[in-house]
């Protein structure tokens, strides 16, 4: 602060209280209102001015502080009418009620202090037109000029009419201001509601107190002492509400230190939830910069889209040592508290850097998993293609050759030739059979054609021990069916090789978005999933689809191989 500005503030601090006491003392001295209301009158002036000045100092970019201080000054000026002097009476009478016009302006412009839209500027200008009405009303009062220096036109009927118009206009204007703040509150997110809430509540409280005041006045026809108190108490709350609403961000900045301590103390606390709590924005998201790329990922390593211009959310980028670390996506209203967001960002810079590295690692893991899944799918697809090629190519040619040999054999009469043809046909039949087995091993056609349940039944019929199959025939995605098929085939092969079982069973079902494939037997158990059973490779295949393979094989209790694969 410059020396001149500091001097200005000192003057305000000394002259302000004297001015306020002078303004309000008249009522006390001249018994115009009950003496008990003097502290309240004094409180309204001093709190409005003091709160306004504090806000002005805290948020110089926001006009709310200046307007609030002005409202206190106007309240004080309105008070000087209580002195028995024609000029102070006239001036005070002109300004009587003008504080409410500024308060309505404050409500309409809250929380930025700026009106923005043209319609609001017109509304507030019209509101200040009521002040002009008050001046004319003072000039038309039916009283001698030795009491009212402004009484230049004695027109009691005009005065009365202007009084009615002024009261109704002020009521409508104030109600409009409250409605505007109320509608903003309804549309706002959590952050902005924290700012709007106290002011809206105070305004409603004042409106209620004033309404009660007016009703009592209408019923009794006079002003009993008690009716002065509720509106004055409510007026006291208004400046505090503005101060609390806008200064909250400063209090929140004090809490930033707690945020850092909490992050250090609790490893389980995620950066995102800690920031959401510190900035009072439950929908806040943190995106970590992905290497040198212009892309962001969340803490789980998944891509995070940043909000587009014009949306309800905005982005604050966090950098450290000139390196952009993260993007905090928050409610747009938080942009009105840049100091808070900056304080939080600076405080958590190091932790954000660590979290970013973790997020990048998770992203790489995800890419690795996706790559493994792609590899398995590509391999399956290649197997299907290869099987189809064998079927359509070599197998068909051999079959055609077999048909030709068959027809040739019917025509040949020479015994040696018939014998040779028979041998050739036998060789050909062996080749066709071996090719069929090879194709089946590469990819079982029944799996693609009729699904896992039918393929499992085929495997069951080829098994050397009786196998009971329980399946409803539901089709799963091809990759899931292929993995399930190989799990069943390998498990049944192990039943024959190692288990000594007298029977086995296959179950295929679905629960909670998982394909459940289980193969069990009543054999000796004791199988080790990791050693020589071929199940380790299957676990990899199932894992590539984000599934898991569980082998239960207690000695003497048989073996159960169970695969759970996401299929939704």
């Amino acid at each position: 602060m410059t020396g001149r500005a500091r001097l200005g503030w000192y003057c305000v601090l000394v002259a302000g209280p004297l001015f306020v006491v002078f303004g309000e003392l008249g009522f006390w001295l001249n018994g115009i209102t009950p003496r008990e209301t003097f502290p309240l009158d004094l409180g309204v002036s001093s709190l409005s001015i003091a709160s306004g000045l504090v806000l002005w100092r805290l948020r110089p970019d926001n006009r709310t502080g200046a307007l609030l201080a002005l409202s206190g000054v106007l309240w004080t000026i309105g008070g000087i009418r209580a002195y028995r002097d024609p000029w102070t009476f006239g001036v005070g009478q002109c300004f009587d009620g003008s504080q409410d016009l500024v308060l309505a302006h404050l409500l309409i412009a809250y929380p930025t202090g700026r009106l923005g839209r043209r319609s609001l500027r017109v509304l507030v200008t019209a509101g200040y037109g009521l002040f002009v009405l008050g001046v004319v009303k003072t000039a038309t009062m039916d009283m001698p000029r030795q009491f009212n220096a402004f009484a230049v036109w004695h027109a009691p009927r005009v005065h009365s009419a202007l009084g009615t118009i002024g009261s109704v206009g002020a009521g409508v204007y104030a109600t409009t201001g409250i409605a505007i703040v109320g509608s903003r509150w309804l549309r706002a997110g959590t952050t902005r509601r924290r700012v709007l809430g106290p002011v809206l509540l105070a305004a409603l409280l004042f409106a209620f107190a004033d309404a009660v005041d007016q009703i009592v006045l209408a019923i009794t026809g006079s002003e009993p002492d008690v009716v002065f108190f509720p509106p004055l108490v409510a007026r006291l709350v208004i400046p505090l509400a503005f101060l609390f609403g806008l200064a909250r961000a400063r209090l929140d900045r004090v809490a930033v230190g707690d945020l850092v301590r909490e992050l250090d103390a609790s490893g389980a606390e995620t950066m995102q939830s800690a920031l959401a709590r510190a900035l009072h924005d439950p929908g806040l998201r943190v995106g970590y910069r992905l290497g040198d790329r212009d892309a962001f990922i969340d803490s789980d390593g998944r891509p995070l889209a940043l909000p587009v211009d014009g949306s309800d959310h905005a982005v604050t980028y966090v950098s450290r040592n000139d390196v952009q670390l993260a993007a905090i996506v928050h409610e747009r209203a938080l942009l009105e508290q840049p100091a808070l967001v900056e304080a939080v960002s600076a405080a958590v810079g190091l932790a954000l850097d660590n979290e970013r590295l973790h997020a990048q690692l998770r992203n790489q893991l995800q890419e690795l998993r996706a790559s493994r899944t792609r590899l398995v799918r590509t391999a399956d697809s290649e197997r299907r293609r290869l099987e189809r090629d064998l079927h359509d190519g070599a197998q068909q040619r051999l079959l055609a050759l077999g048909l030709a040999l068959n027809m040739l054999r019917a025509r040949v009469r020479d015994d040696d030739a018939v014998q040779l043809l028979a041998e050739a046909q036998e060789e050909l039949a062996t080749a066709v059979r071996e090719l069929r087995e090879l194709a089946r091993g590469i990819h079982p056609a029944i799996l693609s054609d009729q699904g896992l349940a039918a393929a499992a039944r085929t495997l069951a019929t080829r098994c050397a021990v009786p196998v009971e199959v329980t399946a409803n025939g539901r089709r799963f995605p091809p990759a899931v069916e292929t993995a399930g098929y190989y799990v069943i085939a390998e498990a049944l092969a192990n039943v024959i090789r190692y288990s000594g079982a007298s029977r086995a069973w296959i179950e295929i079902g679905e629960a909670n978005g998982l394909a459940l494939i289980a193969v069990g037997d009543d054999g000796v158990g004791g199988a080790d999933a990791g050693v020589g059973t071929g199940l380790a490779g299957l676990a990899d295949r199932v894992g590539a689809l984000d599934g898991r393979l569980v082998v239960t094989s207690a000695p003497g209790s048989g073996t159960t191989v169970r695969a759970e694969i996401p299929c939704a």
Partner: protein, 112 residues
């Protein structure tokens, strides 16, 4: 009267040899089709006694197509794969490498 046959298979070399085999076995081959739709059209138009039907056609499964053929038409399913691989069930089925003159003559007797 000779048994009439419609041969349905997507491999031209198999259709050609199957036609000769059937003719040698004493059948009259009234037509050929390479896919399910043309097989249906030909079966409705030609009304053969027997349809030799490949299980794996480009547009439809031979098993499914058999259900849609006119009920008076006999169907003999064939494939290079085994009945077990295809879960054929109780339908009349021959592997393609089992297709011989002797078997066809037996089929002709059963169909005629």
């Amino acid at each position: 009267m000779r048994t009439t046959v419609l041969i349905v298979d997507d491999h031209p070399s198999f259709r050609r040899l199957a036609r000769r085999l059937f003719e040698e076995a004493g059948f009259t081959v009234v037509g050929e089709a390479r896919d399910g739709q043309s097989a249906l059209d030909s079966a409705r138009a030609l009304r053969p006694d027997l349809v030799l039907l490949d299980v794996m056609l480009p547009d439809i499964s031979g098993i499914e197509l058999a259900e849609r053929l006119p009920p008076e038409v006999s169907v003999l399913l064939v494939s290079s794969r085994s009945a077990e691989d295809l879960a054929i069930g109780s339908r009349r089925f021959l592997r393609k490498d089992e297709l011989t003159l002797d078997r066809l003559r037996a089929v002709a007797g059963g169909t005629g």
